[in-house]
C-alpha cells in the first residue's frame, strides 16, 4: 500500500487543482537526514468537489495542505491551480494567486491574533491584496534581491574569512603580550602574523564592505521612494476602506455573525465555534476558488462541529467553492466529501467516493482505520476486532517498497521489494496495494510459496 502513481487522476481539463508527485521533506538538524513528510502524492479535485484527506496523526495530511498553500514550499512536484503551476512560480508571482487559494486552520482561536479586532482580522486579506496592487519601487525590489543574494554569499565568505580574522585576533594578542613583557621578537612575530592575516582577510573585508555599502545606499534611497508609495496608498485609502468595510460586513453576515456586534471585538470575546466562523469569513472575503480546511472542526465540541460543517456546505454552494477537507475524523469526512483519499506515512493509499471506501475498503490500512471507529454498542467487544498492531515507522527512515508493509497483515516479500502503484480496482475506486481486499492482486504480485496466505 501506500504507493505512488497517477492512474487515479482524471482528464487534463476538469480539475481545479491537480497535484502531481508532491514531495515535502524537512532536514533533521545538521545531520543530512530528512523527514519524508510527504513523498510523491498525486490527486486532483474537480470544480465544486469536496476532497476528504484522512489518515492518522503524522501521516502528512496537514503538511500536504500547507504545501498546497506554498507555506512552506514543496520540495518537488507540481501544484497546478487552474492551469498555473504554483510550485514553479517565484515568491512574487505566488502573491497574485493567493487570493484564489485560502485556508482555515485546526485551532480557530490560535489562528486569530488576540490583539487585533475582528474587523481588522477579516479585512487583512483585502489589505494585503490592496498593498500589492500598488507596485513597490524598483529600489525596494533591488534591495530585496540584494539581501537574498547577500546572505548566502556572506555565509560563504565567512566560512573562509573567519580563519583570517582569527589569525588577526591572534596577532593582536601576540603583539600585546610582546608589548607587555617587552620582548621585541614577540612583537615582531605579532606584526608579521598580523600582516599575513590582514592580506588574507582583505578580500573578505572588501567584499563585505562593498556589499554593505550597496545595501546602505539602497536603504537610504528607499526612504523617499517608500514615502512616495505611502502617499499614493494614502490617497486611495478612504475609498479602499469603505469598499473593504462593505465586504467584511457581508462576509461576517454570511457566516452568521452580526457585523455591528462582532467587528469592534477581539477574539477572546468569542467561543470556539464563533472564532471558526470568523476564520471562515476571513478565508471567504477574497472569494477564493479553492478552500483548504485543515481539521476545521477537530478543536470544536460536537454540537458546534455540525454547525460549522453545515456552514461550510452553505458557503460551498454560495461561493462555488472547491474544498480540500483534511481530517482524522472518519465520520466527518464521510459526511462532507465527494471523494476520500487515505494517506499513510506520506503516501497515498486509496482514493474513492466515501460510499465505496466506507462499505468495502480495498486497502488493508483503510480497513484497519475503519475498524478502529468505536461502535456505539456495548455488546461488541472492541478489543476482539482485529486491527493493526505496531507503531508508525519513522518518516526519517521509511520502509522500502510499500510503506505499510511493516504493519500489514497481508504483506509479503513482494511488498518489500516493489512499491505499489495506484490502480483502479473497480469504477472510481483506486488503490495502491499489491493485494487489495477488493478486486484482483496487482499484475505480477505473487506470494512466495513459503508464505502463508492469511485472509481474514
Amino acid at each position: 500500500m501506500a504507493g505512488s502513481g497517477t492512474a487515479h487522476l482524471g482528464g487534463p481539463d476538469d480539475a481545479v487543482l491537480r497535484v502531481t508527485d508532491l514531495t515535502v521533506e524537512f532536514p533533521v538538524g545538521n545531520t543530512g537526514l530528512k523527514v519524508h513528510a510527504v513523498s510523491g502524492i498525486s490527486f486532483d479535485i474537480r470544480k465544486g468537489e469536496t476532497m476528504g484527506l484522512v489518515g492518522e496523526s503524522g501521516c502528512g495530511k496537514s503538511t500536504t495542505g500547507r504545501a498546497l498553500m506554498q507555506v512552506p514550499r514543496p520540495t518537488s512536484g507540481r501544484v497546478v491551480l487552474e492551469g498555473e503551476d504554483l510550485a514553479a512560480y517565484d515568491r512574487e508571482s505566488i502573491r497574485a494567486v493567493r487570493a484564489r487559494l485560502q485556508m482555515i486552520f485546526q485551532d480557530p482561536i490560535s489562528s486569530l491574533n488576540p490583539r487585533r479586532t475582528i474587523a481588522e482580522i477579516v479585512r487583512e486579506p483585502l489589505v494585503v491584496q490592496w498593498l500589492e496592487s500598488v507596485p513597490r519601487s524598483p529600489v525596494a525590489r533591488l534591495w530585496h534581491s540584494l539581501v537574498r543574494w547577500m546572505l548566502p554569499l556572506w555565509r560563504t565568505a565567512w566560512r573562509f574569512g573567519r580563519f583570517a580574522l582569527g589569525a588577526l585576533l591572534a596577532a593582536a594578542v601576540i603583539w600585546i603580550v610582546g608589548e607587555a613583557v617587552d620582548v621585541s621578537a614577540l612583537r615582531g612575530v605579532g606584526v608579521a602574523v598580523g600582516i599575513v592575516a590582514g592580506i588574507a582577510a582583505a578580500p573578505l573585508a572588501l567584499f563585505i564592505g562593498v556589499t554593505a555599502a550597496a545595501w546602505l545606499v539602497l536603504v537610504l534611497l528607499m526612504g523617499p521612494f517608500a514615502l512616495a508609495r505611502w502617499l499614493r496608498l494614502r490617497a486611495g485609502r478612504a475609498a479602499f476602506l469603505a469598499e473593504a468595510d462593505e465586504k467584511v460586513r457581508r462576509a461576517l453576515s454570511t457566516v452568521g455573525l452580526d457585523p455591528d456586534v462582532a467587528m469592534p471585538k477581539r477574539r477572546h470575546e468569542f467561543s470556539g465555534g464563533q472564532c471558526q466562523r470568523i476564520c471562515i469569513a476571513r478565508a471567504l472575503v477574497l472569494e477564493p476558488k479553492l478552500l483548504i480546511c485543515d481539521e476545521p472542526v477537530s478543536a470544536l465540541d460536537v454540537s458546534v462541529q455540525a454547525q460549522i460543517l453545515n456552514l461550510l456546505e452553505d458557503m460551498k454552494a454560495e461561493y462555488g467553492l472547491t474544498l480540500v477537507f483534511i481530517s482524522h475524523d472518519l465520520a466527518v469526512v464521510k459526511n462532507v466529501s465527494d471523494r476520500v483519499a487515505v494517506m499513510y506515512l506520506g503516501k497515498m493509499c486509496e482514493v474513492a467516493p466515501p460510499d465505496l471506501i466506507y462499505s468495502e475498503p480495498a486497502h488493508p490500512y483503510t480497513a484497519a482505520l475503519l475498524s478502529a471507529i468505536p461502535a456505539p454498542d456495548p455488546t461488541i467487544n472492541q478489543r476482539g476486532i482485529a486491527t493493526i498492531s505496531g507503531e508508525v515507522p519513522s518518516p526519517v527512515f521509511p520502509p522500502s517498497g510499500c510503506r505499510f508493509r511493516t504493519r500489514c497483515p497481508r504483506a509479503t516479500g513482494h511488498c518489500e521489494a516493489n512499491e505499489p502503484l495506484m490502480r483502479e480496482v473497480r469504477t472510481g475506486h483506486y488503490v495502491a496495494c499489491h493485494f487489495p481486499l477488493v478486486g484482483e492482486p496487482a499484475p505480477g504480485a505473487t506470494r512466495g510459496e513459503d508464505e502463508l496466505l492469511v485472509l481474514s
Binding site: 500547507r66 498553500m69 507555506v71 505566488i94 502573491r95 493567493r98 485560502q102 485556508m103 486552520f105 485546526q106 485551532d107 482561536i109 490560535s110 489562528s111 486569530l112 491574533n113 488576540p114 490583539r115 487585533r116 487583512e124 486579506p125 494585503v128 498593498l131 500589492e132 546572505l151 556572506w154 555565509r155 452568521g256 455573525l257 452580526d258 455591528d260 456586534v261 462582532a262 467587528m263 469592534p264 471585538k265 477581539r266 477574539r267 477572546h268 470575546e269 468569542f270 467561543s271 470556539g272 465555534g273 464563533q274 472564532c275 476564520c279 476571513r282
Partner: protein, 320 residues
Amino acid sequence: MLEQSSDPRTDQATAQVLEPADEATVPDGTGPAERDAGYQRRKLGVGFWIAVGWLAVLLAAAILGDLILPYGPEQTFRAAGRLAAPSADHWFGTDSNSRDVFTRCVFATRISLLVGVSATLVGLVVGGALGMIAGFYRGTIESAVTGALDVLLAIPFLVLALALLTFLTDEQNQPRFGNISIIVIIALSIAVVPSIARITRANVLVHSQREFVLASRTLGTRNLRIMVREILPNVVPAMMSFALLYIAILIVVEGTLSFLGVGELSKPTWGNMISFGRDKIDDAPWNVLFPSLFMFLTILALNYIGDRVRNYFDVREAGI
C-alpha cells in the same frame, strides 16, 4: 450564538471613560459576568492617577524650574551655611557647597529623567529591532545577532557602560563630540540593547510559531507587515514592562557613573547628588535622603504606571 456579546457601543464607551462615576451611564446590554470582567480590565484606579500626577508635577517643575523656583541650582547661600538643616528658607537644607537641595532635586529631574528615558527608548528601538529580526528570521541572521549580543551580555552592565563612557570621553572627562548627556545616553543605550533584544527575541520566537502568523503567511503578507502588525502588538507588553524597569535602573546607573567620576558632573542629577552627599551622611542625611526620595517616588510611579497600563490593555488569551 451572540447572546453573550455586548452592544459595541459599550466597549467603545468604556474604553474612553476612565472615571468610575461615568460607568453607570453606559448602556447595559450584557450579561453580568461579561460586564464585570470588562469593567475590571478597564479600570486604571486611583493609584494610577496619583502616579501620573506626581510625574506631571515633577516634569512641570523641572521644565519651568527657572521661572517658578526662587533659587538657581548653582546658587550658594553664605547666610545659611554649609550642610544647613531643612528650614523654611531651604526646605531640604543645603549641601556641602551651601546650595539649596530642594532646588537641585527639582533641576536634577531634567538630566536624570532625560538620560533614563531616552537611553531606554533608544535601547527599545535598536534592541527591539534586533530581537525581532533575530527571532523572526532564525538561521544565520539569528546566530549572528545573538552571538554579538551574547558578547555584550557577558560584560557586566556597569563595566560596559563605564568602558563605553570612558571611550567616548577624553582624559579631562570632556565629551569627544556633542555634550556629555548625549554621550551618557549613547553609552547607556548600548549597554541596554542586549537585554531588551533578548527579551524581544524570546517573545518573538513564541509568537512567530502561532497559527495566526501562519494564517497571515498564507495570505501572502510580507514579512515586514507580519512583524509589525501580527507579532509586535503581542510582544510590546513584555518589552514595555521590561523597559520601564530599565528606566529606573538607568537612573541609578547614571548616579553610579557620576559617583565614579565619569559622566555628568557639572549639573545636578539625583545620582550625583546622592553620591556626593554620601560623605556627609552622618552630619547631613538630608543631602542623600531627598534626592533618594525623589528617585524612589519617580521609579515607583513609573513602575506602577507600567503595571496598570499593561493590565489595562491586556487581553485574555483563553477563549474556550
